[in-house]
Symmetry: D2
């Protein structure tokens, strides 16, 4: 919820107060490394997915159910900045942010940490499509959940 | 085809004369290596798939068409022996063998080489299923192609 | 340990009494599925690795330390039988077995379950190599741990 | 090289005349698809790597040699926009662009097509590091090649 106080705060902080977050963690697998001796840069993408899957599930919209209802949420855009490499057997904590109430487009932001160290920042952009790949409005349950979360 | 001569040869050689083979090659990607500095052992599985996709296509049964006709060919069993590691940027040649005429089960064998060096031997076992995952008989076109190939 | 009773039991059961096991679980990622709608057959290999990493760690031989001591444990051979497909968002439990005391070769066996359903059985075979890829004897700490575990 | 004519053209076109490009292609593997029935969004990253590996090799700087000389070129940043999905067995053409002469940072741009259709646009940002992960100046041969290419 947005605290009344927030009305007097700068826009960004207001969003902070009302944003939705979720925390997950993964243990780095050998398969996810490459010959540079650290995690392959492409291996972070499935971890972002782990993050947003958790966020959706925690807020009552398991992605598995969205798909079985005929709604798919492909990635339209992705961006990652690699600050420090994760290594084999590290525990990487993924914090996923839904900073703004989704409209037709849904943006998720991510921060990946090992302990106190920030390793990667990232974002993904999504929109709903139907079984035939055509853009559709978000399902009613999703809209209702977002109205509730960003009330 | 089986040469008449084959009748007098040991079983294995007979099979050799009538077996179907196909050759493909891949260039090793950085993504396919791991921190041991060589190709990750799991990265060879997509290469086996490159091999059998080529074999099916060359013999008039593109797998893409099999699926669009409602026939799927999942892997039921797989086995690999790793003799020498492939490395980044190597050219790996995949030879795929259909040694015996498929019945309900289809077995493919594979040899992976870098130049003259044998790196990996492998096999996969398959059977047709329908869209709902139920075992089905091979499509008529597949049976006809096999009858022709192993005549 | 081997119970005295085991002396009177068939070989296989004897091994059962003394074998080492470990249990891990993974949550199936979207990235691990393929267009057949289920888990890609190659995606199970990193899960086997999750299983044996846990087994080694639980018995005081974290693989990360083995490597930093200069000992590597590549996969020499792998075999999997796929009985039922895992699906997106399933929880898959990996049970890893060290059925026999390792000599120069180390064999691990695996069973993957979703609830009561057995999905996959598998094995991997390993041997120690040094930084230059040459076969070496297992490190002393590993031998000691095995002597203790299979006493 | 920059044609004299270019001096009278807008900045962007000037760059176009002097930029370095390379073309590669991949055949989509089953392993690269996901349960949405199309290519998994993370599977495009190894293809970008195929593109820049070809560009470096064609201009006399094979990445394999850079690494054996102790120079590594990790990805610092990546961004992709997905316009249309690639599908199993498609031939995807990767055009890689080096639009500006690299300084300490090297930016590559990419366009992925299936026939005439633009599927994905992307960029990656890189910088050289040494074996210990410390930033270093590009190797002399690389600088010389860039001086030649962007003369």
């Amino acid at each position: 919820m947005v605290f009344p106080l927030a009305l007097h705060l700068p826009a960004r902080l207001t969003l902070y107060l009302s944003m939705i977050t979720s925390r997950s963690s993964v243990s780095v697998r050998y398969a996810e490394t490459d010959m540079m001796g650290v995690v392959y840069h492409g291996s972070y993408l499935p971890w972002l997915e782990v993050g947003r899957t958790a966020l959706l599930k925690e807020h009552g919209m398991p992605y598995r159910e969205l798909e079985s209802d005929g709604f798919f949420l492909p990635v339209l855009e992705v961006g990652l900045r690699y600050l420090k490499p994760a290594k084999y057997d590290d525990t990487v904590v993924i914090t996923t942010f839904l900073r703004e109430k989704p409209t037709l487009r849904i943006r998720m932001d991510y921060e990946l940490h090992r302990g106190d160290e920030l390793l990667v920042t990232a974002f993904t952009m999504h929109a709903f499509i139907d079984r035939n790949g055509r853009p559709v409005r978000p399902p009613a349950a999703f809209v209702a959940a977002m109205d509730r979360l960003f009330a």
